[in-house]
Assembly symmetry: C2
């Protein structure tokens, strides 16, 4: 299976590959931009961007100084292991690095497709409503971590953050939840701690 | 084709069937609740709710006094014409009425599936970012109307509303755009005017 081949290659290269999944507009790209800027002195990082159309996101990522390859899926609703493999051939991520795979914005289909990643990370914007883990359980079952993003907007919304976390645990008792704002930076250091804890050999090469 | 059979049945019954499509969390259900409450003295209306799991949305709709049937798609990412047909058999929408079909929250896959509806209506929350029509062009090409929802949050966001509308017109020059807030009610009357203008025989039975 091609996903397994990707996984073996990541393991051999000591590359931490994370599959970022969410609805459109959850703030994935903004979260990545901030992560890359904050951590670029510490780690080698690169990005595969999935979108139906446009190369906008890869351009935003490259502006941070990191390598990025854009995969356009056309009418396709998710990335597949084969697309990732061809993106990797173009991107050539270095050994001992982190690879972020930004999937097509879709809270349904990417849940079903293993790309060979180490883990799926679900990003949920609090503007989407607290019921989303119940209504789209497959995505939250498939993810190790849920980043509750845009918490800076909490004062302007009617969003019950504890209820949302309880719903996520209803569908996946093991899911870890972090509250973040990629815009203000709140909570981002816990996400960086989680990243550090997930490296294959418990240490990345320092730059 | 089953979609055509649905369409013929809607025409024969003078039922205006609208397929509401959007990302998860765009506010479709809240928009429907307000629409049903505001127009229930004027029209017969009923709702088919699509979600991967839960019957929450159908319960919210029934609380407005309108009939609703929930279709759970499980791992499926969109409604199909056959699911709609079986939902209709259960719902039994009356002649001379409006049927709202709330599709699974997914800005990708429902664009490809004709249910036999009169029109697709795309709902985009301004919290999702102005680039979405470019990144998910198929949905905006397939839709007659785009409702830009949650405009009450505009002061708290960095969202360029004119740019978003220009992007929507880039991918579909014919798409009509209305700015609404289902929470505050702003702009909703233009949506109601659009609804009135779309009836099959230019008149619904008055209640």
């Amino acid at each position: 299976m091609l996903a397994d081949r990707n996984r073996e290659w990541f393991a051999a290269q000591n590359i931490l590959a994370l599959n970022l999944v969410s609805s459109p507009g959850s703030g994935k790209t903004t979260l990545l931009e901030r992560t890359l800027r904050d951590l670029k002195e510490k780690y080698e990082m690169s990005v595969i961007e999935g979108d139906q159309e446009t190369v906008n996101d890869a351009e935003r990522i490259r502006a941070t100084g990191c390598n990025a390859v854009q995969i356009n899926t056309g009418t396709g609703c998710h990335l597949e292991a084969e697309m990732l493999a061809s993106g990797l051939a173009q991107l050539e991520p270095p050994p001992n690095s982190i690879l972020f795979i930004e999937n097509v914005g879709n809270l349904v289909c990417p849940a079903m497709f293993d790309l060979g990643e180490r883990a799926k990370v679900a990003i949920l914007s609090i503007t989407e409503g607290e019921d989303k883990p119940l209504k789209y359980p497959h995505m939250f079952q498939a993810s190790e971590l849920m980043l509750l993003n845009k918490i800076d907007l909490l004062p302007h919304l009617n969003f019950d953050i504890e209820k949302c976390i309880a719903y996520a645990h209803d569908v996946n008792p093991a899911i870890k939840v972090l509250k973040v704002s990629a815009t203000t930076g709140e909570g981002m250091y816990e996400w960086y701690d989680w990243l550090a804890s997930r490296s294959f050999r418990w240490s990345f090469a320092s730059k």
